[in-house]
C-alpha cells in the first residue's frame, strides 16, 4: 500500500488535477487490477499490483511511470468498443499532462501546459523575431553578412558577453524551475526512502529505455504490430540531445577555463560530439514526428499532440540550425545562421520547464520510486 495517502500536498494536487481524469484513471486501474493480463508489458502493471486502492498520488506515479508504448491498449479485451471502454495509454497521457501542470513552478506559469503547442510555437516565433530584429538593429551589416574565419568569429557577430549572460540566465532559470517541479512531484508522488541501488537501476532503465521495449518485443508504434522503431528513434533523440549537451559543456570548459576560443576544428571534441549529437537529434525528432503522423490516434491523448509536437519541432530546429551553422560557418550565411540558431536555443531554454521536456524528469522520478517500491516489497 502507498505510504503517501496522508501527504498534505495531495489536497493541492487534487485541486490542480481535473477530478474526472483522476476518476477515470482510478476506474481504469481498478479494472486492470482485476485482470492483470498486461503484467508482462512494462513496470506499470506490477506497480499497480502493489495496491488494492489507488490514492491520487499513486495514480500520478503510475501515469508518469507509463511510457506510452500502447501494448496494453491493443491487448485490452476491455478497450472500445467494449462497454468498459478502457484506454490506459490515453488516460495516463491526460493525467501526465495535468500532473505537469500541477507541479509546474512558479505556479502562475502552470497554465502554459494547457495550450502547450500554441505556447511553444509562439515562444519560438517571438524568440526568433526578437533575436533577428535585435541583431539586424544592433549588428552592422558588414559583420552580420561578412565572412569570418578563425577563433572568435562567432563573437564578432554576437558579442561574447551577450551570449554568456543570456544563456546563463535562461538556462539557469530553466534548471531552477525544473528542479522545483521535481521537488513538487517528489513531495506528492515520491517516497521517503530511496537507495543508491534504486537510483542506479532507474538510470539504467532510462538510458536504455527499457520500458519502450514492451516486454522485449517492442512497442505498438503505429498499430497492433510490435516494432522497436519508436524506441530507437527516441534513443537517437535522447542520446543526440545528451551529446549536444556534452558538446556545449566541453566547449564551455575550452572557452572559459582553457582559453581556447570557438569555433573549433571539425575534428575537435566539441564539434565531433555536436555533429553526432545533432544528427541523432535530427533523425530522432524527425522520425518520432513522422511516426506520430502515421500512428493510430486512438491510444493517444488528442490534447497532448500540441505539446508533443512542440518539443519535437523545437529539438529538430535546434539540431538542424546547429548543423547548418557548422556547415556554413565559413560563408557569409554564418551570421544569420548563428542568430537563428541562438534564437531557437533561446526558445528551447525558455520553454524547457513548461513543455514536454519535463516528462523526462518526472518519468525518471517514477522509475526511481518504482525500483524503491519493488525493493521494499522484496524485503517485506
Amino acid at each position: 500500500m502507498s505510504t503517501l495517502e496522508t501527504t498534505p500536498s495531495l489536497v493541492a494536487l487534487a485541486q490542480g488535477l481535473e477530478a474526472d481524469t483522476l476518476a477515470e484513471a482510478r476506474r481504469t486501474m481498478e479494472v486492470c487490477n482485476a485482470c492483470r493480463y498486461c503484467e508482462g508489458y512494462c513496470a506499470v502493471f506490477p506497480a499497480m499490483e502493489l495496491h488494492r486502492q489507488f490514492s491520487d498520488a499513486d495514480l500520478v506515479h503510475l501515469a508518469n511511470l507509463c511510457h506510452g508504448c500502447k501494448g496494453c491498449y491493443y491487448a485490452c479485451q476491455y478497450a472500445p468498443p467494449h462497454p468498459f471502454g478502457l484506454n490506459v495509454p490515453r488516460t495516463f497521457a491526460d493525467l501526465r499532462r495535468e500532473s505537469y501542470e500541477a507541479f509546474a513552478w512558479p505556479a502562475p506559469l502552470a497554465r502554459l501546459f494547457q495550450r502547450n503547442g500554441l505556447f511553444v510555437s509562439l515562444a519560438t516565433a517571438v524568440a526568433l523575431i526578437v533575436t533577428m530584429a535585435l541583431s539586424t538593429l544592433l549588428i552592422s551589416p558588414e559583420r552580420l553578412f561578412g565572412v569570418h574565419r578563425g577563433p572568435g568569429s562567432f563573437y564578432s557577430v554576437v558579442p561574447y558577453d551577450v551570449m554568456v549572460w543570456v544563456a546563463t540566465l535562461t538556462f539557469g532559470f530553466a534548471v531552477l524551475a525544473l528542479g522545483m517541479g521535481l521537488r513538487n512531484y517528489w513531495a506528492t508522488a515520491g517516497r521517503k526512502a530511496i537507495g543508491w541501488k534504486s537510483l542506479a537501476l532507474a538510470l539504467h532503465d532510462a538510458l536504455t529505455l527499457r520500458h519502450l521495449s514492451g516486454g522485449g518485443h517492442g512497442c505498438n508504434d503505429t498499430d497492433e504490430g510490435f516494432t522497436q522503431g519508436r524506441r530507437w528513434l527516441h534513443q537517437a533523440m535522447m542520446w543526440g540531445f545528451l551529446l549536444c549537451f556534452a558538446s556545449t559543456s566541453v566547449a564551455t570548459v575550452y572557452d572559459h577555463l582553457l582559453g581556447w576560443i570557438a569555433p573549433y576544428s571539425w575534428y575537435s571534441l566539441p564539434v565531433l560530439l555536436g555533429t553526432v549529437g545533432g544528427v541523432g537529434l535530427t533523425v530522432g525528432s524527425g522520425g518520432l514526428f513522422w511516426l506520430k503522423l502515421r500512428t493510430d490516434p486512438e491510444p493517444l491523448s488528442p490534447r497532448n499532440l500540441g505539446m508533443d509536437a512542440g518539443l519535437l519541432a523545437l529539438l529538430f530546429l535546434v539540431a538542424t540550425t546547429g548543423l547548418a551553422l557548422l556547415f556554413f560557418r565559413h560563408t557569409s550565411a554564418m551570421g544569420m545562421l548563428l542568430v537563428i540558431h541562438l534564437g531557437v536555443v533561446l526558445a528551447f531554454f525558455l520553454t524547457l520547464p513548461y513543455g514536454k521536456f519535463v516528462h523526462g524528469i518526472y518519468r525518471f522520478a517514477a522509475l526511481v520510486r518504482d525500483h524503491a517500491d519493488c525493493r521494499a516489497g522484496d524485503s517485506a
Binding site: C38, A75, Q77, H82, E224, F226
Partner: protein, 464 residues
C-alpha cells in the same frame, strides 16, 4: 465486398481455432476466406478473453518450467472430465501440444517469460504476453500478410450441404446478403452460449438470469446447421461451464474481471437468506466452477457472498466494489434481504464454529459443527465491521454440445463416416475431449491443435 469466386476454404469464425486453421491452410497454398461475425474491434470470439494454453513438455522451455508429460496431462484431463473424453483424440492433442508454442511464436504470438501474479501455472501453461487479444491480433496480422480474405461484420447464415457435402454459404456481410462459394468448410465458430433462447431449452426461464462471460457472437448457428445436416453430436446438450461471477457484470463479455474469489472466506446465502453449500469445501481454483451451477439453482439465480473486514484483503481485488454496511442488518437492507433472517443465518453460523487456527493459504481446521450445510474450512465469525457483500450470478463460459470429429478434424456424420469436405475446430468440437468440467488452458490447446489440423486437412483435400 465479398468476391464472387470459388475459394478453396471457407473458415467460419474469427477466434484462435479459426485463425490457426486459416493461416495453416493459406501457408499450404489454399485460397482462404474467413468470415468473422464480430466487427473488427470485437474480433476473436472467446479467445479474446483467454490468457494461456496448456502444453505438454518433457523438459523446461523458454516459457514453461520443469516438465509436464503426456501421462500427467491426460490424468489431469480425465480427472476433470470424469472420463467423458475421447482418449485417442485427447492423447493426440496432448502430443501435438508439445510442438505448438514454436509455431505460435513464428506466427507472431509472444509469451510471458514467467508469471508473478496469483496464478501458479507456469509449469503447465504458457501465458500469452498481453493475453488472448494480443494473440488474436498477431494471428490476424499474419493472416493478412499471407493473403487470407478476412471479412468482419460477416455472419454466415446458412450452409449449403447436400448429403454431407459442402458447396457454399449464404452470408450477411455488413448488412448485405452474399454467397460464398468454397471447396471446403472449416467451422470454428464456437458454441451456443451467447444464444439465451437456446440456453433456455435446457435451463428454462432461469437462463434469462445467466450472464455470458464471453462474446455475444457465439450464437451456435453453425453448430445447429451442422447438426441439422446430419453431423453426429457430441457432449451433453443441457450442460454449460458456468462459474459464479459478480452479478453486476455486463450481460456479455465481462471476461476475467468479473470473477470473484471471495467465496471460501465468506458465507453465501440466497434470496431467502439461507446457506446452500459448503463455501470452504476446497481451495477456490478447484471449486469455482461448481458455483455457477449452485447459484443457477437458487431462486432468482442470485446469491450473496458475505464477509467482514477481516477477510477483505484475502482475495484478488475484483472490479466492482463490495456493498458495504456497518451492521449485518444494514447490509441486508442494502441487498434487499430480510434483515432478521440474515441476522439469524449469520448468528447460526457463528454459533456452530469450532475453534481452529485460520490459514488462508491451505485447507485449515476452521470449520463448523452441527450446521447444515457445514463449512469445512476457513470458517470464521462474521463479526468485525464494516461488513461487505458481493452479489453472485451464474456466468456461462462455454457450452459442451458440439460435433463429433476424427483425428483429422473431419466432421463425423450420423452414418459413422467422416464428411468429405467439412472440418471443425475449437469450441464447436471441444466436447470430444472436454465432455465435462474444465482444465485451465485446454480450450486454447484444442483450438490450436485442431485449427492447424483442420487447415492442413482442408489444404490437402483441395490440393488432392
Amino acid at each position: 465486398m465479398i468476391q464472387d469466386k470459388l475459394y478453396d476454404v471457407l473458415v467460419v469464425g474469427g477466434g484462435n481455432a479459426a485463425l490457426c486453421a486459416a493461416v495453416t491452410a493459406r501457408e499450404r497454398g489454399a485460397s482462404v476466406i474467413l468470415c468473422e461475425h464480430a466487427p473488427r474491434g470485437l474480433r476473436g470470439g472467446n479467445s479474446r478473453h483467454t490468457r494461456n494454453l496448456r502444453c505438454a513438455h518433457d523438459e523446461p522451455t523458454d516459457v514453461l518450467t520443469e516438465s509436464y508429460g503426456e501421462d500427467e496431462y491426460i490424468k489431469d484431463l480425465l480427472r476433470v472430465t470424469g472420463g467423458i473424453t475421447n482418449e485417442r483424440l485427447a492423447r493426440m492433442t496432448i502430443r501435438e501440444s508439445k510442438f505448438v508454442t514454436p509455431w505460435m511464436y513464428e506466427n507472431g504470438v509472444r509469451f510471458q517469460p514467467s508469471l508473478g501474479g496469483t496464478l501458479s501455472l507456469s509449469r503447465t501453461n504458457a501465458f500469452f504476453l498481453g493475453g488472448g487479444k494480443a494473440l488474436v491480433n498477431a494471428y490476424y496480422a499474419r493472416a493478412e500478410q499471407l493473403g487470407v480474405d478476412i471479412h468482419y461484420d460477416t455472419e454466415v447464415l446458412s450452409l449449403d450441404i447436400q448429403d454431407g457435402f459442402f458447396s457454399g454459404a449464404e452470408v450477411d456481410s455488413r448488412g448485405f446478403g452474399a454467397r460464398v462459394r468454397a471447396k471446403s468448410l472449416i467451422v470454428a465458430a464456437g458454441g451456443f452460449q451467447g444464444n439465451i433462447e437456446w440456453l433456455k431449452e435446457a435451463w428454462g426461464p432461469a437462463a434469462e438470469n445467466f450472464l455470458i462471460r464471453g462474446t455475444p457472437y457465439n450464437r451456435g448457428r453453425m453448430l445447429r446447421q451442422l447438426l441439422d445436416n446430419g453431423a453426429d453430436p457430441i457432449g451433453d446438450p443441457t450442460q454449460c461451464h458456468a462459474v459464479a461471477i459478480d452479478a453486476r457484470a455486463p450481460k456479455f463479455d465481462g471476461g476475467i474481471v468479473t470473477r470473484l474469489d471471495c467465496v471460501p472466506f465468506s458465507v453465501v446465502v440466497n434470496q431467502a437468506c439461507e446457506r446452500f453449500y459448503d463455501e470452504g469445501e476446497d481451495v477456490w481454483p478447484k471449486r469455482y466452477a461448481i458455483w455457477g451451477r449452485l447459484v443457477a439453482q437458487q431462486p432468482g439465480q442470485i446469491a450473496y457472498a458475505i464477509i467482514d473486514s477481516k477477510a477483505l484483503d484475502l482475495f484478488m481485488p475484483s472490479v466492482f466494489p463490495p456493498v458495504e454496511a456497518g451492521t449485518i442488518e444494514d447490509l441486508a437492507g442494502k441487498l434487499g434481504l430480510d434483515a432478521a433472517k440474515l441476522r439469524g443465518t449469520i448468528d447460526g453460523f457463528s454459533g456452530a464454529l469450532r475453534p481452529g487456527s485460520f490459514d488462508s493459504t491451505k485447507l485449515d481446521d476452521c470449520r463448523t459443527e452441527g450446521l447444515d450445510p457445514p463449512k469445512t474450512h476457513w470458517a470464521r465469525a462474521i463479526d468485525t465491521p464494516p461488513f461487505y457483500a458481493y452479489p453472485l450470478r451464474p456466468g456461462v463460459t462455454f457450452t459442451y454440445l458440439g460435433v463429433r470429429v476424427d483425428e483429422k478434424a473431419r466432421v463425423q456424420m450420423g452414418d459413422g463416416k467422416p464428411a468429405a469436405n467439412m472440418l471443425a475446430a475449437g469450441e464447436v468440437m471441444a466436447g470430444n475431449i472436454l465432455g465435462k468440467g474444465y482444465l485451465a488452458g485446454t480450450g486454447m490447446t484444442i483450438g490450436t491443435v485442431f485449427g492447424r489440423l483442420a487447415g492442413e486437412e482442408a489444404a490437402r483435400y483441395v490440393n488432392a
